[in-house]
């Protein structure tokens, strides 16, 4: 309840400042529309925004699921195989020197204007944070626990599954929380480069037609979507941490 109150207070403060800026700076609506105007655009275009939000949401969720699965698989492989660490890890780090955004036009060229180029974009953006957070967690198992496992006669596989993986879940959770925020960025960038739908596409469209109030309405929906996603992933991680066994 307290956090809801605080959230509402912060939102009210933000809206107040926004309205004050518009009123006192005398900004025209095609530069910065006031909150009322944007709310109006949100209501008038609710159906349209919802349709595009659905597309973005599908891209983001698919990207999150695939990227997380890939990241977890990579981290597990690296953790158990010194050869994989030797061969793959430098390559993995090297890929991070390339801005993923620069790949967006190529992905669109290869995968077309549908959702898959955006899904892949989201996958590419979250893959590294998830893999590296989980891998770090797997490599940082407290030594005492491993010693205990060894004296108890645990095989390396059970040691991994019963000790190292659960001990690394908090690290994985922080990677996933980051991923929940990054994934929508990937999807929207993908949509900017070339798409027939999605919130990023709608923002460009509204901008081009000088429907700045619609653009802001879309932006707010995107922010809310990301917030809700972040909350859901955080909630899922908390449940996972509590239920671990």
């Amino acid at each position: 309840m307290e956090s809801v109150k605080r959230g509402l207070a912060a939102a009210a403060l933000f809206l107040g400042l926004w309205q004050a800026l518009v009123t006192f700076a005398g900004l025209p609506p095609f530069i910065l529309p006031g909150p009322w105007r944007v709310a109006g655009a949100l209501v008038d275009n609710a159906g349209l925004i919802a349709w595009h939000a659905g597309i973005t949401l599908a891209e983001v969720v698919l990207g999150l699921v695939l990227g997380t699965a890939l990241g977890i698989a990579t981290a597990l492989n690296l953790a158990v195989s010194p050869l994989a660490r030797y061969l793959i890890r430098p390559a993995l780090v090297a890929t991070q020197s390339l801005p993923v955004f620069a790949l967006a036009p190529i992905l669109t060229l290869w995968l077309g204007y549908g959702i898959w180029s955006k899904v892949l974009m989201a996958v590419l953006i979250i893959y590294f944070p998830v893999a590296s957070a989980f891998f770090d967690g797997l490599m940082r198992t407290p030594k005492g626990w491993l010693d205990l496992g060894q004296t108890m006669g645990a095989s390396p596989a059970r040691q991994l599954w019963r000790i190292r993986v659960p001990a690394a879940i908090p690290a994985l959770a922080s990677g996933l929380r980051l991923a929940a925020v990054y994934a929508p960025i990937g999807a929207v960038i993908g949509e900017w480069v070339g798409a027939a739908g999605g919130l990023g596409y709608l923002m460009l469209l509204a901008n081009g037609r000088v429907k700045i109030d619609l653009m802001f309405a879309t932006l707010i929906v995107l922010a809310l979507l990301t917030l809700v996603l972040h909350r859901l992933v955080g909630w899922g991680c908390d449940r996972l941490l509590r239920r671990l066994d």
Binding site: L148, T151, S155, R158, P166, A167, L241
Partner: protein
Amino acid sequence: MKIAPGVDLLGSASFDETVLFPPVSLEIDAGGWSCLLGPSGCGKTTILRLIAGLDTGAAFEGRISASDGAPIPDRVAYMAQTDLLMPWLDVLGNVTLGARLRGEAPDQDAARALVTRLGLEPHLHKRPSQLSGGQRQRVALARTLMEDRPIVLLDEPFSALDARTRADMQDLAAETLSGRTVLLVTHDPGEAARLGDRVFLLDEGGMMEAVPPATPTVRPVDDPNTLAFQARLLTALREGHQWKA
């Protein structure tokens, strides 16, 4: 439990070129408590880890053997200074950890009986974070007993507890581990004086044995012989220190 063997360690250890301890001879009697007393960093823990077959990072020259000639590492149970409880498992889960690490079905009845014997019944389904330091170390003792190994290696398991809890734990450990071959590594002369059937002093100069009073263990804390022995141990520890300086 199989019949507890005695354990002998003869040899020296070094890190790179630095001698950790010179050639020493440690005789751990079958079915009794041997205490290895010494200042921090003198190699006590290294000796315990060598016997347990755990990685030490030191080069050991010599031999470690059981009186019955059979291998030692798969017959030891290990208890460390920190309780090494898995935070994601409840008390029962932690007590039965060993079986699950070996892929066996845990004997739930035996585990419950042990938990009851150690007075932890009300906490059966609590997580370690909900327990006090003394309770956590009792869970660790239950986990050690659950392993039912003839050789028990204790690496300062009571040193982080307050004085009263420590004395209680010493009594409980002595009672529950009777009949097993126990090596207790400690830096507390009082602990060695109460619990040691045999007491060995280790420092950079080497190892020597101090003969404890004839009173059977666990010796009462207020017994003049125990107190005199404790004082003798402390004096020997300090003299060793001055002799080096």
